[in-house]
Homo-oligomer: 136 residues x 2
């Protein structure tokens, strides 16, 4: 890396983006935190999350399973039973996610205030005085 970054979006960055997208996903993090307490069954989670559709729960779990964050164990009983559990990888994800969550909580007030200010000023108004420096 002798060269300064000129264009963003290098190879590795793209892979990282996918992980960030997972974290940004509305339900994935919620599920991970839920499973932190131990294995859960499908409908059990559906009841706990309260607002998720069974479609989204399925898709979210599939995504997490595909990434190796969650393991799926089905018991061929009648009625069927399926347990979802955090893998070691899934558990390891909790640490950086919780760090982010703590940042969010710590700065929650500041963000809300900034939003209120922004909205009060009507989005993006004119500039401050600033003594007209030469642009070129």
């Amino acid at each position: 890396m002798t060269e300064e970054q000129t264009h963003f979006h290098t190879e590795g960055c793209l892979a990282v983006s996918r992980v960030l997208a997972r974290v940004g996903d509305k339900w994935s993090v919620l599920i991970v935190m839920l499973l932190a307490g131990g294995p859960r069954r499908f409908n059990e989670m559906k009841r706990m999350v309260d607002g998720i559709s069974q479609r989204m729960l399925t898709l979210t779990l599939r995504g997490l399973e595909r990434d190796g964050l969650v393991s799926r164990t089905v018991f061929p009983t009648i009625p069927p039973r399926v347990d979802y559990e955090l893998t070691p990888l899934g558990h390891s994800l909790r640490e950086p996610v919780m760090a982010l969550g703590q940042w969010a909580q710590a700065n929650l007030a500041g963000i809300a205030e900034a939003q209120a200010d922004f909205d009060r000023r009507g989005g993006a108004p004119d500039a401050p005085p600033a003594q007209t420096p030469r642009p070129g």
Copy 2:
């Protein structure tokens, strides 16, 4: 909080979700990392990110500005000039985000392998043996 969590989605959690959504946003984190090196102008960033539309750049910057992560300074010159810069809040966000990024890079191989395994097995096949425990 003497009570254990029964239903997820308590008040504070929802606010945190919004922050996570920002982080999960495809462009926001990229912009924040770009601005870590100092203030940038609009088209300058557009060239650097390489793949972003000017519409998305505008929306992303507006969102970051609204949250108080980025400050916008317009110089009323001709031609106009607008500088975007990370606020202290914006800078403070870099730390937990980079922690997440490092986790992503560290586990990139493991995730890719899990995905390959999952896809090779065709999504979500049958169960392991498991000696039929009683479900109820």
